[in-house]
Symmetry: C2
């Protein structure tokens, strides 16, 4: 019985993308970290338990970030007048090289974990660097902060600066060791991480695909972020049918795969992704900042593609997923308005919020972590309490408060962080 | 001599849009609120004076917001899935109606002024509502916060809800009275404010044009924000050559005029604006949020149009002009990428920053307030000190810090606010 906790508040979630569900003055009954039910009042059998009041703000599912580069946290905002490939060369790779130094990783990764928590992203899927030890330090820092995450040691064995380029063997061995050594950590698990096709030889990709299959691990990579990269991939892999086929051919595309960006895909590639039941991660902030292009999010939603949302820090400029929600809405509006002939539709606020919570949660559910992302019975009780009230003179409904938070709020407005029923 | 103050810091400004000018470890010598010079060390004749150290962050010109609606501050983020005309009807007008109540204005406008200050916009050009007394309260609140501003009582005598619609006579008389009564306030001055052409009869616009000329007052309005509004204006004013001509024909377009948005203009209208030496105010955040469209900022910059930048709260979702700087850059990138056939160019970070400081400052200079917007000798010493340093392990140049602040910072990173040499 001491595993049961009661929380009172105005709960808002998006079990479906269509609209926000608001339940005012509700009582969440949480048992062993999971929501048992959401009630209008305290049921008699729990009447002896204390009720924790989450205040007059709103309670929402905590955010999930499905694509973020931990080592780029310290370069956010830098060099964003450049395009992807120049930005990688001039800012990102030099920054990542420093993580060869474990002391540097020890100094910086705890700050990344703390910021992720502060911004309300209590679950995330994270890229480290090619460095095995530093990436283990990253995993430990996330665990220590009380967060749940998948972490990947990055693999690159070509087209990378010398100090980040591994041999195919070393790269594979490093990943293999990383995945095994991470078995000690409970809430932070490994994900196989070929950086993107131009950085990996066929040998390496084949080995990584086999590793993922042998250890039943998920996979993350980048796909079709820019046109120049798409052309480059077609030159590097002349015998593959498409960029998406490259990953597929090496066993890297399946129900446990996250493919970030996916802007420039043919219909056949979308079909392949759907057929393989893989997930596409939209990263609007990064795509705008690097002038990459805009993924047709509305179209993919309507088609039923598995979709998630990522901050993509450092090309994205904020760890706050509430900002990525707004950037997704903004990007979809501009795609519609600036390309009227293509018949795009704007994505609504509830759809974008859904992606950052329920949509992203599905990836964790698929990996056997149990359901999460909304306030449904049986789901992990992951929540943030937000207070965006304005002076008494201005009445604000719970939904007004959430809109205001998503557009104008920041971490100061997050008052409580709860993951699997535990207040962090 | 006691009017002289010395400030030490790393100064960054944009006297021209082309690039950031960085002067590390410099000493600003400020006399009677103006910058005398920026020196490498304290000149001998000032060696007896104390030097205020603005820290190891960076010092930048304080921001200027050239288009902001004070009564909409409390609705930021609400209803932004709608287009302009629906949003006005469902959110903005009902919100503005409440300012008929002066107690409400007394409760809310000081919060707006405080937030404007906190976000570093020490000068601004502000819309009130149609209400004379409440808009005077707004002006007093800005003055009391120590800010410099132009404030306009809004004029609407048609196509507005009944409780906001004035008669042409009452609207004109209210503005006339507002402008006279504001003469008491030193740093907050009146600006003639026909809301936009669809809200004003020809009679009213003619009278307002004459008022502006008689009292030598500036004018602000909205121009060509959406296509449906442009069509509406052509129906309402069938005998006028264009939307821009409407304002011009009534004496509302000249060197002291601010026209917000200016997205859908013909070449002839741009030529007319340039010929009349009027200023166009870009409001990217609002234009994206309301799916209005994107002003071709790069093209206007290259053409030499007088340009400024506005937050346009509440359709824009933040009072922080650093966020509008980023939204301007982002909007220009998407316009280029999504409409390649039109040959747009992306706007650089320094160009957008220039608009929010030097560019916007020109409007104040033209109104006889003396030059401002950069750290040039003779300019008003308006400055913010910013601290975006990351842990010691990560070296950050002053310019890195500024980039990081513009993309990822917030008011917590602003440490000192200085307007005309006075620390606020």
């Amino acid at each position: 019985m001491n595993l049961t906790a009661l929380y009172k508040g105005h709960f808002i979630d998006t079990p479906t993308p269509d609209e926000f569900r608001v339940r005012k003055d509700a009582i969440a009954i949480v048992e062993a970290g999971k929501l048992l039910s959401l009630e209008r009042s305290v049921p008699a059998r729990f009447s002896s338990l204390p009720v924790k009041d989450l205040g007059e703000g709103v309670v929402i599912p905590s955010f999930i970030d499905l694509h973020v580069h931990a080592p780029q946290h310290m370069q956010m905002g830098a060099g964003l007048d450049l395009g992807l490939l120049d930005w990688l060369e001039n800012y990102t790779y030099p920054g990542e090289s420093r993580f060869a130094d474990e002391d540097y990783a020890q100094a910086l990764y705890p700050l990344f974990a703390a910021e992720l928590l502060r911004q309300g992203s209590l679950r995330s899927v994270v890229y480290g660097t090619v460095h095995l030890e530093s990436t283990l330090i990253l995993a430990q820092a996330l665990e220590k902060a009380g967060l749940m995450a998948f972490v990947g040691k990055v693999n690159m064995d070509r087209n990378a600066p010398d100090d980040l380029k591994e041999t195919p063997e070393a790269s594979f061995k490093g990943s293999d060791a990383f995945c095994r050594r991470l078995a000690d950590i409970d809430r932070v698990r490994p994900i196989v991480t070929p950086r993107f096709a131009p950085n990996c030889t066929e040998t390496l990709m084949k080995d990584l695909g086999q590793l993922a299959q042998r250890l039943a691990l998920p996979v993350q990579s980048h796909l079709a972020e820019t046109l120049s990269e798409v052309q480059w991939v077609s030159q590097l892999f002349p015998e593959r049918r498409s960029y998406t086929d490259v990953y597929n051919d090496f066993g890297l595309l399946g129900p446990a795969s996250l493919m970030a960006h996916a802007i420039f895909l043919s219909d056949a590639e979308i079909d392949l992704i759907m057929q393989r039941d893989a997930t596409v991660v939209h990263c609007p902030s990064a795509n705008i900042n690097l002038s990459s292009g805009i993924m047709p999010l509305g179209r993919y939603l309507d088609k039923g593609v598995n979709l998630g949302l990522g901050s993509d820090v450092g090309a994205g400029h904020t760890l706050g997923m509430y900002r990525s929600v707004i950037q997704a809405v903004q990007a979809s509006k501009l795609l519609r308005v600036l390309r009227p002939e293509e018949d795009h539709r704007a994505v609504t606020l509830s759809e974008a919020f859904y992606l950052a919570t329920m949509g992203n949660g599905k990836f964790f559910t698929r990996q056997g972590w149990g359901p999460c992302g909304a306030f449904e019975p049986g789901m992990s009780f992951d929540a943030l309490s937000i207070d965006m009230r304005f002076p008494e003179a201005v009445e604000m409904s719970p939904l007004n408060q959430l809109e205001r938070f998503l557009y104008t709020g920041d971490d100061r407005h997050i008052k409580t962080w709860i993951l699997a029923g535990k207040v962090l």
